[in-house]
Symmetry: D2
């Protein structure tokens, strides 16, 4: 993505002067709906001088092409999932834990696992109703019936629910049953879907595509934010490389890089990266040590019976042990596992 120039006017006067200065230049000016008045232009020295003459403005040259997502104009912040007593603020001093099955399958399975992860210390629930699957003959999730099961789990446990949405047409239904809309890795550059979730005011968990860069991840976050929704949480879940010992290669540097440049919270998904329950704990701890604000992890009480991804889910005991490790490690990072 080409470098941009971001010009911020700090007073109404400067703003007017800036508008006047650029009128008729024909340059490609993009006015942002951010917390401050800002313009996004192609980076150019002559333009920078013209803007500088407008008065009380700050000019960021070679700025990234995602000003709303960057920490140039806005400091790091939290995103709240859910409402009421069990809502969680992602991005603060608490490491948040989102846990549950890969897919919701039956009322009993959903209730058993969500009860178990809440007992184990999860702050929020995950579970797929719409599952993007490589093969059309694999289990695609229960769809709207699955949303109903998630809504029941939310009512019963009080915990907020995160679930994936795969089509613009389903956004409203998912937003009604869940507290956070997950955009999966395969849809990270499905711009129609990004626009649709951007037009809601529901928090979005945006997973990095396994073939896309961190710069592109922030470009996708910018699509959501430019559509009006600034409640975005980023998620690193592993990228495709030549190494075949793990399902994907967890890019922990991505977590640190995003935290250093963006104002958005970042969490880690160790389950999809690992593809192996024995790897979930080390990848979780590594992701947190690199700066992640929390985790989203697959837990199953009978992994071998799962209809999808059972091979990578952590058992309930493994989940409890993982949270104990996180708790031991948290103080060294100025973090806690208390409800955020």
């Amino acid at each position: 993505m080409a470098a941009r120039m971001v010009v911020v006017s700090r007073t109404a006067e400067a703003n007017n002067a800036l508008a006047a200065a650029l009128r008729g230049t024909g340059v490609d000016v993009i006015e942002l709906q951010g917390p401050v008045h800002a313009l996004l232009l192609d980076d150019d020295t002559a333009l920078a001088e013209r803007c500088g003459a407008a008065g009380d403005v700050v000019i960021h040259r070679k700025a990234p092409a995602w000003p709303l997502a960057s920490n140039l104009l806005r400091p790091a912040r939290t995103v709240k999932i859910g409402t009421g007593a069990h809502s969680v603020d992602v991005g603060g001093t608490s490491w948040i834990v989102i846990a549950g099955p890969c897919a919701v399958e039956t009322p009993e399975q959903t209730a058993r696992i969500t009860d178990a992860v809440v007992a184990g210390g999860a702050h929020a629930l995950r579970g797929g109703a719409f599952k993007p699957r490589t093969s059309p003959y694999s289990f695609q999730g229960l769809g709207r019936a699955g949303l109903e099961l998630l809504a029941q789990a939310r009512t019963k446990t009080g915990r907020p629910v995160v679930t994936e949405v795969v089509s613009p047409a389903d956004v409203d239904a998912v937003a009604n049953s869940a507290d956070c809309l997950q955009v999966g890795a395969r849809n990270m550059q499905n711009f129609a879907l990004l626009k649709a979730v951007g037009e809601t005011r529901v928090p979005v968990l945006l997973k990095r595509g396994f073939g896309t860069t961190v710069d592109e991840l922030l470009g996708s976050a910018e699509h959501i934010m430019a559509a009006g929704n600034d409640q975005v949480i980023l998620c690193e879940r592993g990228i495709r490389t030549f190494e075949v010992s793990t399902r994907f290669t967890l890019d922990v540097a991505a977590i640190a890089w995003l935290k250093q440049r963006s104002n958005l919270p970042v969490i880690v998904d160790p389950s999809h990266a690992a593809g192996d329950p024995k790897m979930v704990a080390p990848l979780t701890l590594a992701g947190l040590a690199a700066g992640a604000d929390g985790i989203i992890v697959e837990v199953h009480d009978a992994p071998h019976e799962a209809k999808s991804d059972g091979h990578q889910a952590l058992g309930v005991d493994g989940f409890t042990a993982l949270l104990a490790s996180m708790k031991a490690m948290a103080p060294a990072f100025g973090r806690t596992l208390e409800r955020p």
Copy 2:
């Protein structure tokens, strides 16, 4: 994708016996809507024996999970784009050439370039009305107004038009203005979109995602075909690797691999792989030598003024020279550039 077992019954009797043999077994049987009656099961020796006892059946063990796309059940075939005198059959003895601008921008630009490529020998036209862009601030295409320009180009030149669709909601509109629906690399695993184009009867040009395997590409083709549309053309356009000298790495082996295993035509997109006009000719010829059935190439008559991807478009002269090279090379491959 796990191996599957594909069982084909060759007579109505065998079909009935097969149904009876599997009744009540609880195995995951998927009945396909293919040219022959076929069932897709998990691969298992006991199951294979049970099916074999049903009479006149053929059992393919360790079969790929994309039976409709594979050449196990159906030989290689052609897909027709357009109707009437200028329709083209992709996958036959002719190398087909689809050419045009990256994006349609104005009536004049569209007419100039489409006239030039038709004069140069293109069989079909390309041009983007909906452009998936990494940044929300980049030119996103003219949208429905762009479709109108493409429809005009089609009327004027008589040539079929290929254009991208990025949202299920736009499928009908695009299908009305174009002869072939392109699903772009970033949407290769946008399963809601695959289902939507699968529910039309319009040919689909499915581009490989830059982070996805050839096995997954055929999985995506299978999604379209399982939804009822078997008019699918595959397209290799380069994958992401560590090598930075080209924008993507064109995987010519993918072309050969797909031709050896699938019944679908395969074309090559040298423009996106190269990201550099000087590389378009060698990548085109390499892709054809590896077995491709044609090309889709970006041409611009004023590359430096293009609103997107101008840096990689071939000039008109370059396009003409490329077709001359293809023509010289075709006989050695039993091919021609005559209208297919």
Copy 3:
């Protein structure tokens, strides 16, 4: 690497019986010089039965092709670097810290930096005398004169020295001046060099190649061990991927994977992976959280004047802060930063 079968005879009698049983079979038997008598054969059921009949033997089927490096035959262990009061055991409860400049350049620079890192808490020193460089016109290191500077630093500080060797012809000279022979990423599959360092009894720090798998890394360790030297320390330093935001992608899963399968210590090199001092701390902590036994890190007191890799070296203050972070984190992992 194909699966192998490892057969361990636990008594002299079983050993003789095994030898007799396999005589004349023509199978490819490899007798290992390990802590137990073991044979490495192609995996095969008939062979396994024949071996099992030999008495008190243990048979590992689908064993990895690196029995000496695996933890099948030998539990995890430590490797000692240096002798006397300042020797360090890598792989025990202490996280070891190896620090110093990328290259030794002058007596003053070497003394300044090595004094600073020892004052900051380093257990061992690093510094390159032989530098593999992409261009023949870049600084290639001081060569044997550099070894002399390292030997002086060792004498002055008492700390063990780790330095790279790039040619079989230099192995003896390097072994005389240093306590640990580093085989760099570009030489991980330079089998002539692996054999040469395997014929010494000096510890070897074996870096993973940036284009090689963890399975191949253990294959290279096995080359060293099969030549007679079992003092091998593994090092993860990042692999090549499509992501360009960091110089390489640190594969923390590799660390966990190696610790779960090998008997060898594993350390992490955050400097080369990051290529950016701001990323060194998060990558170090992530690597340790994933299970690493220590770090090797580049420190420079005037990074911008360094003749190689200055852009990625940590300043002395950054180094001190990093060790404070490690110290805070160590107890949660049952580790310490005390001299091991």
Copy 4:
């Protein structure tokens, strides 16, 4: 690799003036042993002006860091392998064919296969005596005994022999038995070996490492050339990517890129890229269409009995058919298969 500035003085006077102008500046001047007097400096505007004042000089700014390998100072050229009636010029109008077994195993196997490939039209012979293998327990080649078999094949057929050298200590022995020293992919950045082959006057076939860029490949060629040997042939043999359908991903764009920037011949190795005989023909033809000057291909008359890489070798019939395809295709590229 950082950009460089290459300054060429075209007269002795300019040369003297240049030397005087740079005296005492302390800049990093590297005098090249090339066909013209040239200096390699860090790219810098002030320096460029100072050099320009020296008279009849040509200044290439932002030049690549491999001036000897580039086509800035020297046009594309041929490299001769062998002497006498059967010598071949690589890089001219003929596509050269180097063929033979992966490894030489026995006198009979060597004679059978080399006779067969010569009968089939090979211009030169390949065969490994020293085999770099991932596992120390795999067949490592016959070593010096293998060289003897190659020398016999050369005598019998008259054809030049290409074989791999893996250690500086073996360079002289290999140079005595063969006509071209192959540096394998795993040793592409084994700089001690590059220097050793650079000190001979024997042609070197330099294979690209599977984890290295084309820029680095030319850096390695420059190491050989800076040591005094300009008889270098480059070879693309596939890189590591996430795609697992082929053993490596053949990067045909690399071939075109190298031909556009270097003065060195480039050949393609389809066998290692493919790892599958069915893929050898399409990859060969694709590599040639992209601009390669020839091929190096593994042929075996009993692939399943080969001690290494038998799974990827072409049978004799396949080899004959491949040469027929090449012959059909050659005229379209202005090439021939006649002895070059």
